[in-house]
């Protein structure tokens, strides 16, 4: 009888524990939420096999709970997921986390955590984040969106104390361009196998941030 009670207790504790939010993720979320505003000069370098575009510069303005504004004198391609350095998208809806153990990257061990939104309105179904438990920040996450495919975002930080990443690498799936031949320009050399292939290609965009005017929420006692 005692064994059965103990089994039920442990099972329920484990189950409930699984529904909790990982404390490292929670701490990162709280750190991120202290950021009220920032502006940054960003350089964007796009690496897509069928797109040639020079490195571009833009200025972004972030205000908490508002859409990030982007300004540029040139035409720029702004990644739909890459500019969210505050990770607002990850944390804006209620979520649960699942501990997935540890992962070794570049000689460092990180905690791997699944972030699963509990609200149907969330625009992603699951995200897998690599958490730096010492510096309390996320270094990489893969996000499976409901409409825009899968993104892998890798972040690097210049300082150990930095909350916001200085360099971002956003990897995404993109379909090969299909437009009528000779629509514009010289007669194209057609690689038929490429055109017949339905396999999506991978694109990467590299972003380098130079922050200014970061304001934080004042601590209240």
């Amino acid at each position: 009888m005692m064994r059965q009670i103990l089994f039920i207790y442990l099972t329920s504790v484990c189950f409930l524990n699984g529904q909790n939010i990982d404390e490292n993720v929670l701490r990162i979320q709280q750190r991120m939420e202290t950021i009220q505003t920032f502006t940054a000069n960003v350089t964007l370098d796009v690496d897509i096999s069928f797109v040639n575009i020079p490195e571009k510069e833009a200025r972004i303005e972030y205000i908490k709970d508002q859409e990030t504004k982007v300004f540029s004198e040139d035409f720029i391609l702004i990644p739909k997921k890459g500019l969210d350095v505050s990770m607002h998208q990850l944390f804006k809806n209620p979520f649960i986390t699942v501990d997935r153990g540890e992962e070794l990257r570049n000689g460092y061990t990180y905690k791997m955590v699944n972030i699963i939104p509990t609200d149907k309105k969330a625009d992603f179904s699951i995200a897998t984040a690599l958490v730096d438990t010492i510096r309390h920040r996320i270094v990489e996450y893969e996000i499976n969106t409901k409409k825009d495919g899968t993104y892998i975002v890798k972040m690097s930080y210049d300082k150990d104390t930095a909350i916001l990443p200085d360099n971002l690498e956003v990897e995404f799936e993109i379909e090969r361009i299909r437009i009528p031949l000779k629509y514009m320009g010289k007669d194209a050399q057609v690689d038929k196998s490429t055109y017949k292939s339905n396999a999506p290609k991978t694109g990467i965009i590299y972003l380098n941030f130079n922050y200014s005017n970061i304001t934080y929420q004042k601590k209240t006692n």
Partner: protein, 276 residues
């Protein structure tokens, strides 16, 4: 020789066809600008369709550089057709009006006379391309402003505004060589066929066949690289992301050689021909 050139230039400037041609070029530009204004965004939407899922776009691509590029594409057909009509007309009208016979009764060397026609045709062609380029830049930039240029050539290529201007300017320059080739061919056709309608039909036929053959892959290095039809789109190489200057220089030199050969051929035929 100089007097002959001045005389030919005077005749060209006096004929009304010249001004109709200039007006036609201007009207084509206006039509392209209006159609681009109304349909340009849908063209851009089609080009950028695949990128929409992954990116937001900031900035305006429907700008003066895109419009200049679209007008530049008249070098495929519209401009050479107009040039064929005007340039061949400078000789066919002389056959028709019998002024050629009057000239030949004077102590004028036949080869100098026809060479001066070729020289004037070449200078006129270069001036027409310059006129097209100048009006293109003035109209496009004043109405649509500057901005990045997008071109689809195997890949989607984006060029910054200053780079786009530089490329379009060079494309007009290189394209002028192609236009000179068509002008010289049309004058040579006029020498052979004498009659205006025949010359125009054959000139237009030559242009259409050239455009059709451009798309044909001969699977032969010489034909695919050195046949004249494969050289007439050299100006498009300016819109590859990395400009293949060596290829452009080589193509331009070969096309100039073809132009000179055509001229020499025309001069020989004219000098051996009796003028009735």
């Amino acid at each position: 020789m100089r007097n002959l050139i001045f005389s030919e230039a005077y005749k060209l400037l006096k004929q009304s066809k010249t001004y109709y041609a200039l007006a036609a070029i201007f009207v084509i530009e206006i039509i392209i600008l209006f159609s681009a204004y109304s349909q340009g965004q849908s063209v851009l939407d089609l080009l950028l369709d695949n990128l929409k899922n992954s990116f937001h776009f900031e900035g305006n691509l429907l700008n003066g550089n895109l419009l200049s590029y679209l007008i530049l594409n008249t070098l495929w057909f519209h401009l050479p057709l107009i040039l064929i009509v005007i340039i061949s007309g400078t000789l066919t009208s002389e056959y028709k009006d019998r002024t050629l016979l009057s000239v030949m009764l004077q102590p004028v060397s036949k080869w100098k006379f026809i060479l001066s026609k070729y020289i004037v045709a070449i200078v006129f062609t270069l001036l027409i391309v310059f006129f097209l380029a100048l009006t293109t830049f003035i109209l496009s930039y004043s109405i649509f402003g500057k901005g990045d240029l997008i071109v689809y050539l195997d890949t989607l290529n984006f060029f910054e505004s200053s780079d786009a201007f530089y490329r379009i300017m060079w494309a007009f320059t290189v394209g002028a060589i192609s236009m000179v080739f068509f002008s010289v061919v049309s004058l040579t056709l006029a020498i052979i066929f004498e009659e205006a309608t025949k010359t125009w039909i054959l000139g237009a036929f030559f242009l259409i066949v050239s455009n059709l053959l451009l798309k044909v892959n001969f699977d032969n290095y010489v034909l695919d690289n050195w046949l004249y039809v494969k050289l007439n789109d050299t100006w498009q190489y300016l819109f590859y992301y990395a400009i293949p200057w060596d290829k452009i220089y080589l193509n331009t030199v070969i096309l100039i050689i073809y132009t000179i050969i055509t001229m020499v051929f025309g001069i020989i035929i004219f000098t051996k021909k009796d003028v009735n």
